[in-house]
Symmetry: C2
Subunit: 133 residues, 2 copies
Amino acid sequence: MKTIKRRSFLANVAITSALATVTLPSEAKPKDKKFVHHVYFWLKNPSNEADRTKLIEGLTTLSKVPTIRFHHIGVPASTNRSVIDRSYSVSWMLFFDNLEQEEVYQTHPIHLKFIADYSHLWEKVTVYDSEQV
Amino acid sequence: MKTIKRRSFLANVAITSALATVTLPSEAKPKDKKFVHHVYFWLKNPSNEADRTKLIEGLTTLSKVPTIRFHHIGVPASTNRSVIDRSYSVSWMLFFDNLEQEEVYQTHPIHLKFIADYSHLWEKVTVYDSEQV
């Protein structure tokens, strides 16, 4: 229950921050610029459903790193135009309050264990880190 | 004022939905799988600050398409590891309730006007559409 409460609290923090962002983007402080960390995974065996399920299970565990304000685990949508890259297997998108919080995530024990336990599954990752303007 | 109220309403919808996602991801209905549309823009003149500012202004206008539940406009963060792609100029990340709402956005007059007015600025776009698992 404690975990659920804490996650709800974090969700509320993210929500308050998101609302402020939507209505008052220009008032964000330099340290408060919402940080989006978006990772795309290409599996070694992209057609292996079990591998994809396993990676998603790992990401679900990884989502417990406490500095994560919001997470989204996705797979390629059915949209298909020339500009769309549908070649990846799994999308992992995170919001942090700022760069410092993302750095805490990078070296958090849960993250290090995720890499140790699951990195054999993927062939390539591409990361885009974006700070809100 | 009407616009502000409407945007606050939409933000609240997004927030309620986000909270549900964080706590109850497995209960999402097939039609309700949160859709992330992430676009990366490479400008023709990446070192031209005015062009980047102009594109960001255009995206701010584009954010008024009513089916958008949340938007984030970003630029590459200072993070720099081998897996990070920092070569893009502007990141444009959107949440929709589902694929159908994203299709409404694609053909919305505000979107078509954005393409007509600003597409001369960019050399390349890459899009990743991800549906929540």
